[in-house]
Symmetry: C2
Subunit: 231 residues, 2 copies
């Protein structure tokens, strides 16, 4: 019988934020598949899982997803990854493939999932805590209350993105906002909203900062800003 | 010594989607506080937690949050709830207060959290799986891939909300969309996007439906639609 593939979100960093289901499946599956940019690379998702589950080295299987600019090469690599997984499933192996945060939000797993679904394999996605939810909790604030909506921008390309989104939603999450903080601050000042933003930066790493937006400060790559209609 | 309050998201329904941290804290805390609309009401969040943790009845404490229309009465009730919690913390009790889904997304806990923070109490938010993440996983799709943003509308007030949001984000989650499905479908047809929507309805309940948007069908109150730029 063919094996089953589980795509598993391991949450944003704290191993205790794994779900009970994620822990059980990582324990039970024959193989723990870990997406890496190149072979031998250290995997953050794997290290998180290891903090909660004892994973024998022999169960771990690296799956390479190249990040080169050439789109055709990236697609070929995704196809090869899917075929590698299919071969293992054909051998009857069950596989837990890991992803940071939630499995349905910007995960590499999606590229494998779609191909395997199409080919008729048995696949299941298992949700994990998204990083922006953990960030808000870390900062001690809600993302939204009552009947408000919110938007999520994964990586700011230009300040007009923020401007347009604030025309629709009063609550906004901007991920990887590090180098754009001052720019967003200036826009918030224009709108009288400069006290409505919280920064969650480099959590658990050097230079950790969780608190109000300070415009004249340097922030690292792993910086999220949460803008709220009311603080 | 004063006790500590933990606001704990128990996820969207499946007890196995509790985090390891949620389970541990519910086990360890002296009191499990459960928001209810009126005394004796059955609590979905409590039932989910009970599916993963053995909770002695004596540890459970109902906290009433009225849903009456009168805003002043709602505020007074929230204040009374906060004071009830503060009294227990003053007695040195540790408290796990439960919420459905994630603790930072539309949770009643937020009203207590703010008041206790202001009063100088020790409080901590513990993230849970948001319902829309679990919904996407259940449907076997991602919410977002690559570098796309997304918006979340908790409860549709008018179709112009969807129109405006689609002007900013190609990916959109609409919760409690039940009675508006046909209306949203018509808008998607106008944009040639009618095949880009998935419905997750009444999961685990009578009339469960997870699949493509079928316009001429009745959907229950617990219906979420996920619209994607690409399927």
């Amino acid at each position: 019988m063919k094996g089953k593939l589980y795509g598993i979100g391991v949450g944003p960093g704290d191993p205790e934020l794994l779900t009970l289901k994620a822990k059980r499946l990582i324990e039970e599956c024959d193989i723990v598949a870990v997406p890496v940019k190149k072979e031998g690379e250290d995997s953050v998702a794997l290290n998180i899982a290891k903090g909660a589950v004892d994973i024998p080295e022999g169960k771990i299987r690296e799956i390479v997803f190249t990040m080169v600019k050439d789109k055709a090469k990236r697609e070929a690599c995704r196809q090869a990854a899917a075929e590698e997984i299919m071969e293992l499933l054909d051998e009857g192996k069950s596989i837990a493939m890991l992803a940071l945060g939630d499995i349905g939000i910007y995960s590499t797993y999606a590229y494998v999932h779609k191909r395997l679904l199409k080919a008729g394999y048995d696949v299941e996605m298992v949700s994990g805590i998204p990083s922006f939810c953990a960030g808000a909790s870390k900062a001690g604030i809600s993302i939204v209350e009552g009947n408000e909506g919110f938007g999520v921008i994964p990586s700011l390309k230009g300040i007009d993105q923020v401007e347009k989104t604030l025309g629709v939603f009063d609550n906004l999450v901007i991920m990887k906002v590090g180098s754009h903080v001052k720019e967003v601050y200036d826009l918030l000042v224009e709108r009288g909203m400069e006290n409505n933003a919280i920064i969650i930066s480099n959590v658990g790493m050097e230079g950790e900062y969780v608190g109000p937006l300070i415009p004249d400060r340097a922030y690292g790559y792993f910086t999220t800003m949460i803008i709220k209609s009311e603080m």
